[in-house]
Symmetry: C2
Subunit: 350 residues, 2 copies
Amino acid sequence: MNADWLNVPAASLNDAARRAAEERQGQLTKPPGALGRLESVAIRLAAMQGSSQPRIDRVRISVFAADHGVAAEGVSAFPQSVTVEMVRNFARGGAAISVLARELGATLEVMNLGTVNDPGPLDGVLQQRLGPGTANFTIDSAMSEEQLVRALHIGRHSAERARLADGQLYIGGEMGIGNTTSAAALACALLEAPAESLAGPGTGLDVAGVGRKAEVIRRALARHNGSLADPLEALRRLGGFEIAALTGSYIACAQMGLPVLVDGFIATVAALAAVRRRPDAGEWFFYSHASAEPGHARMLAALEAHPLLDLGMRLGEGSGAAVTVPLLRLACALHNGMATFAEAGVSGKS
Amino acid sequence: MNADWLNVPAASLNDAARRAAEERQGQLTKPPGALGRLESVAIRLAAMQGSSQPRIDRVRISVFAADHGVAAEGVSAFPQSVTVEMVRNFARGGAAISVLARELGATLEVMNLGTVNDPGPLDGVLQQRLGPGTANFTIDSAMSEEQLVRALHIGRHSAERARLADGQLYIGGEMGIGNTTSAAALACALLEAPAESLAGPGTGLDVAGVGRKAEVIRRALARHNGSLADPLEALRRLGGFEIAALTGSYIACAQMGLPVLVDGFIATVAALAAVRRRPDAGEWFFYSHASAEPGHARMLAALEAHPLLDLGMRLGEGSGAAVTVPLLRLACALHNGMATFAEAGVSGKS
């Protein structure tokens, strides 16, 4: 197994479909631009789908769960056992993303990439265990090269399943106690930013806890200093199985031409790693929401990304992306369903 | 007919239901506060509906259309004939709000309160004609006292129909060429703000056009100077039939305990007039979106309102509120459908 597939370019957007969609938006019975970002969403989706009638009927959500060795540094407000407990909760339908998937009629796929406690087979959970969580990256690399390559593959295969099921939108979610620390450390490496600019409260640290988390990240950056220039190597040393899987899934989606709706803090660092590895992949990404996690704004700025929602959410699981799906659907419905000035017999601008 | 009904207080929110909802949010399988504003939306709806399981299944949208005498001052990018043309478009299903109502499964009611050209009976349009539009308020009062009282009543009756149909959320929309000028002038009066702080491009004026619009508003404010302290008198002198109907509908909703989702620039000035007349009504209002019309921010600040969406929309018709409905529905679904820590066997905070 290797990661040569990452060299495949992203699919091209359909420029003719984009131009046709832009033209149609100008003919619909509204002042030009009056639907704001719903217009640009519909135009981008038309270009992605190569269609004059973009649609987001079939949404695929893949949630990747894994544990983090760095949790031993006391960087989370919750005990590590919560990762596997939440895997059960996803599968039984009680978690936020489970509820949202049902409401949206989306297909939800849950993958356990390696929790500290192996729960054995669980109904509704794909077991794709790479180990009992990552290593503590203040001491060692989080992953071996083989684990990284396998995690990227797991993400790729999830994207391929979405494509095979004629999915029209891919959402990746994550769960892993300690993973805002991993995401923040990786973002520091990719953005060459100081630890205190990316360390935040995560699931609910107090000020002292955030200070400890920044200190842990500083130690990790010092430990891996000089080996973080390559985005995949930074991902291997500081990331998590679920973050690497997200990166792999996003790149594969872009290669297959499947639009991606990126969730919040953790998912955005995976998107950042994806774009650093394959800059052309970014054309396929929508950014769903601005997380309440303070460092998210810095990542979004680096990506020149402008999320559609800002509701102060900070849950992960893909939940912020899921909440954004109706906006994409309504953007399509307006684009496809509104009458033109000519059809409606409405006068244009004076 | 009189407006004494405006003296009836707004309904009370259910504090026990609010406390129970707050407690439940703290028990759901997520870090406290991690769903951000979706949590406070669910809690407010629980208090409004007096229910532990708030729901927004039945949405009622009422669109009020009317013409404006001030259009004669050249304050719109579109000809005045568009108002009645759009009324037909609403009824035939081709307008943005028609598409959105269909997608949301919402009931859409269209009312013609007075267009310059009387189209006669139209399928799907309630004719409630108060005259061929308002008078030009740079010269005269926009409405007579009788027209104001009748417009408020029309709004009230629309809210009552929504309530009788067991509606769970009320959205008021508007259409009227020239109505951003009317709304801006009224906001200037209610906020004691200068014309240039509220005049904006509306449907698409250029810089010179916005300057002309501000000049028209300045003339109107000078013409009515000394008579604008009472909010209903300001509404009569500077408002539109559709704006007055929105104000009446919002107050009636608050009196009956029906939650309101306020749309953008025009709807917000109607809400501002409602709150100035009945401060207790404001507890029943959600603000849906920040309009691209620059003066909207000033109104929202005065109302201490924080809209849920900011998508650069500036269409009116109730469209921004309609686009926000799925967020309220998902907030309810999460509140009602997520498992608690105890139910899911998930550990709490360390």
